[in-house]
Amino acid sequence: MSTEENKQLVLRWREQAYEKKNLNVIDELHAPGYVGHIVGAPGPIRGPEALKQLFAAYFAAFDIHVSSAFLIAEGDMVVVRDTYRLKHRGEFQGIPPTGKELSVTGTDIYRIVDGKFVEQWFEADMLGLMQQLGVLSTPGQA
């Protein structure tokens, strides 16, 4: 796989998941041994089924639109930095829907082998998310 092919895979994944809400594409694009190190999850996400469940939970809680800034590729890895615009329309971690519109940044690193995601690291500003939901104040200002 070239770095250009890897970047196209990431863009296709984003289009299918976030614009088309087609979570079945996870089976096509993620290796059976996929491991996700995803912010906010209690442990590694292992395998496509677990990733589908995680996505389903987020899509139930939020309408999500993503726009990508940086897209950097070298070897078998791709980095992408995104801004997520969310609308809180379903229960999230025990918080009933607020209808609030939020903006959160996130950065992913994907490791790709033979056209499939085998490993992923996702970092995001979960504190900013919770603050915008009105659940938390800023530490040190209580």
């Binding site: 912010v39 070298e74 500003d125 504190l127």
Partner: protein
């Protein structure tokens, strides 16, 4: 500058500025008009602000250690996945020293110009750090 040279600059930042606490080396690695998208409230612009921020972090966490886990580079951009750990001794992000050890991960993207870092975007979970310091309750911690 080659991608290997760019990666070496970022690696030096971790090894020298952070781990060896050589904030005085920052000027070799960062441009005067450096743009820090992870700037703290009140941070001065450019190189001076970056030095202030790291001097504050090191004063708050005297045993601060950053480890680069993965690095990739393309064109004039470098991305690094890293782990930060240390003991929270002094005031950090508005939180007085707790004495607690912490460990968290992040991903930073740097744009380099003329062999130095000109701009950086950091991404790490501030909620996780605040939970480790005990400032915000963790789910199931029994303090909610």
């Amino acid at each position: 500058m080659s991608t290997e040279e760019n990666k070496a600059i970022v690696r030096r930042w971790f090894e020298e500025v952070i781990n060896q606490q050589r904030v005085d080396r920052a000027g070799e690695l960062v441009t005067q008009d450096y743009v820090d998208h992870g700037a703290l409230p009140g941070q001065a612009p450019g190189l001076e602000g970056a030095k202030q921020k790291w001097a504050m972090y090191i004063a708050a966490v005297p045993d601060l250690h950053g480890t680069v886990e993965d690095m990739l580079a393309e064109g004039d951009e470098v991305a690094a996945r890293w782990t930060a750990e240390g003991t929270h001794q002094g005031e950090l992000l508005g939180v007085p020293g707790t004495g607690k050890r912490f460990r968290f991960t992040g991903i930073s993207i740097c744009r380099l110009a003329g062999g130095k870092m000109a701009e950086q975007f950091e991404q790490w979970d501030r909620l996780d750090l605040m939970q480790q310091l005990g400032v915000i309750p963790s789910p199931g911690s029994g303090t909610e």
